[in-house]
C-alpha cells in the first residue's frame, strides 16, 4: 500500500507548499509512490490518519499548538516544511518585543488602543511567542529553507519510502559555493551569512548574484563570535549585525546567545 502523506500549514506564506506543487513535471510519478490524503492548497479532501505529515508554518496561538498536537497524534512521521516550521523564520523577530509593543509598532496607536477596549480583538494578536514546531511536538525530520528546495523534498520522499533517510551534512553554505565555483560574496564587497548557515540550497542566492541571508538557519556550532567580528571588519554596525541575524534566525540567535 502506498504511504499516505498530508500537508498542513500554520503561520506562513504557504510558499513551501507551492514549492512542492512546483514539482508538477513529475507530480504524476510522485503519485505513483505516495497517496496525498490532505493538502488544502491542492485538494479539498481531509483525512483522519496519514503516514507522513508535512507541516509548514510557525506556532503562534494556543489553538495552533492544539492543532499541531492533533496532527502529531494522527501521523507516524512528522516533517517540518520550511524555515517557519523549522526555526520560526522572520516572524520570530517579534519574540524580541512584548506583544503590545509589537502591535503598536506594526498597526499603530489606534489598533493598539482597541486591544485595551475590544475583548474580541485582542486574542487575535495576543500570542506570547512565535514557536518553531519542535518547541511544541517531536519533529522527525526538517526540510529547511525559505522556501524549501524541491529536490530535497523529493530526496526525502524517495529515501523514506526505501526505508532510509537522506544524509544532510551539517556544513556551511560556503561548501556549496565553492563546489559551484562562485566568487566569495566578501570578495566583491558585500557581507554574507553563508559561513554560519546550513547548506542544502546549492548556494542558489549567491549563484544568482545575491548573498546568503541565512534562511536555512544557523549551523550547529557556528562560530558566531568570529562571524560577528568578520561582519564588523566589513563595516557593519552592531545593530546591523543583529538585524542580519534576526532576519531568518531570530529564535536561534536568541537561543545561542541566551
Amino acid at each position: 500500500m502506498k504511504p499516505k502523506i498530508a500537508f498542513f500549514d500554520m503561520a506562513s506564506c504557504e510558499g513551501c507548499q507551492l514549492a512542492i506543487l512546483d514539482c508538477e513535471d513529475i507530480f504524476l510519478h510522485i503519485l505513483d509512490l505516495v497517496e496525498i490524503v490532505e493538502f488544502r492548497e491542492a485538494l479539498s479532501e481531509t483525512a483522519p490518519r496519514f503516514d507522513i505529515a508535512f507541516v509548514e508554518g510557525s506556532i503562534h496561538r494556543e489553538m495552533d499548538a492544539e492543532r499541531l498536537r492533533s496532527i502529531r497524534a494522527r501521523c507516524d512521521w512528522l516533517v517540518s516544511l520550511g524555515a517557519c516550521a523549522y526555526n520560526g523564520n522572520v516572524q520570530a523577530r517579534s519574540n524580541a518585543l512584548a506583544p503590545g509593543e509589537n502591535m503598536l509598532r506594526v498597526y499603530g496607536p489606534e489598533a493598539y488602543h482597541r486591544t485595551q477596549t475590544d475583548p474580541h480583538y485582542w486574542p487575535l494578536w495576543a500570542h506570547s511567542r512565535v514557536r518553531p514546531l519542535s518547541q511544541v511536538v517531536a519533529v522527525d525530520y526538517h526540510l529547511r529553507g525559505c522556501p524549501v528546495d524541491r529536490e530535497e523534498f523529493l530526496q526525502l520522499l524517495k529515501r523514506r519510502i526505501a526505508g532510509a533517510l537522506p544524509r544532510v551534512a551539517a556544513q556551511a553554505v560556503c561548501v556549496e559555493c565553492k563546489r559551484a565555483g562562485n566568487e566569495c560574496v566578501f570578495e566583491h564587497g558585500d557581507t554574507c551569512l553563508g559561513p554560519v548557515t546550513w547548506a542544502g540550497c546549492n548556494a542558489v542566492c549567491i549563484g544568482g548574484g545575491y548573498r546568503c541571508d541565512g534562511c536555512r538557519g544557523l549551523l550547529p556550532g557556528a562560530n558566531l563570535a568570529a562571524h560577528r567580528e568578520l561582519l564588523r571588519e566589513h563595516g557593519l554596525s552592531e545593530a546591523e549585525i543583529d538585524n542580519r541575524y534576526r532576519l531568518f534566525c531570530a529564535e536561534e540567535v536568541a537561543e545561542a546567545t541566551a
Binding site: A169, K178, C184, A226
Partner: protein, 366 residues
Amino acid sequence: MTSFLANEQALEDWLRRQAERHEVYWPQRMGKASYAFQRLRRRSPLRLDRLDDAPASKPFRASACVVPPGRLLAPMQELLYRFEPDDDGGYRFIPCLDPTERLIAGIRPCDLKAIHLMDAVNAEGVPDAHYLTRRAHTTLIASNCLQPCDAHCFCEAAGSLDWREGADVFLTPQADGQQLVECLTPRGEALCADAGFSPCDAPEERRQSAEAHRPQPFGRQFDAPLVKVMAAVDETWDSPVWDKHVERCFSCGTCNLVCPTCYCFDMRDDLDIEHPGCGSRSRCADGCMLPEFAEVAGGHNFRATPAARQRHRVKRKLAYLPTQFADGSFCVGCGRCGHQCTVDIDIFDIANDLAAASEAPHAADD
C-alpha cells in the same frame, strides 16, 4: 623536444583554432576579482603574459582562480555510474566515463605541479578510472610565472615555481614580445607541428633570460628552508599553534575545496523517480575541515575540534602525502586557501609558526 618562437597574435590565433576542434579552457575573469577556467569562446578575451607585466597587470592569477584547473579532471560533482534492473533479477551497472578531448591552457606552474601530484594519487592503489579517462584525453598548456600572483603566493618557497613536468606545452614570454613555446611531450609536439611557429634553437637560454626578470625573493618565503618546515610539521603533534589558527575558523571547508591537491570526496546514491528500480551513484568534493568529515557510525568523531582538523589538513599537505609519494610538498604554494578564506587563515602562516616553534630553545621539552 622541439621549441618555437611565436608572436602573441600567432599564438592567440593558434589557441583559438584549437578551440574549434576541442574544448579549450582558459582562465577568464569572473565576478569582481576572481578567475575561472572556462571554455574559450569566439569572443572570450585572451591575454598572454608579457615580459614587462607589472605585478598588478599579470593577466591571470592562481590564487584568485577559485576552482583550480585540476578540477576539470576531477569535477566538484560527478556521476560515477548508473544502475538499472537486468533480466535476471540483478542489476546492470553502466559506468560514466568522460573521454571528451580537452585542452587546458593558462595553467600556472603551481597548479601544474598539483595536477602532476593528482596523477600519482589517482593512479595509485585502485586506479580512479574517472580521473584517468579524463586525464588521458586532456592536453595541458602551462604559462611560466615571472611575477608572483599576489601577496598570498609562496610557490617558490613551496618548491613549485619552476615546475614543468606534466605540461605538454610550456609558454614563457620573451623580451622581443614573442612567446617561447616549448613542446615537452609528443602530444605537445604534435599539437605545434603545423602551427607555423618559428623553430627556436636555444630554448633553455631564452627561458632563463626571461626568468632573470623575476623579483628576488619571489613571493613569500618561509623563515626556514622547506625541508625544515616540513620536518617541523611532521614532528609537531601537540602545539598551541593549531589552536591559534582556528580561533576564527568557521570549519566551512573552503581551504579544502579550493586546494589543488585536495581530492577527498563524498558519495551519494540517487533513485530515479521516473524509472523505478533505476538510479545512480555520484560523488562530490569533500573536505577534512568539515565537522562531520571524520564522524563514523555510532556518532564518534575522530577529529571533533577545528584544531584537530586543521592539524590533519596541514599534515596531509606537508607531511603525510609527501611521505607516501615522491616529489616533495603537496602544498604547492598557490596561496588559494589563504586568499579564499574569509578570515585569512593561511597554511603559510601555520607552517611558518610551526617551524619557528620547533626552532625555539625549549621545543625539545614539549
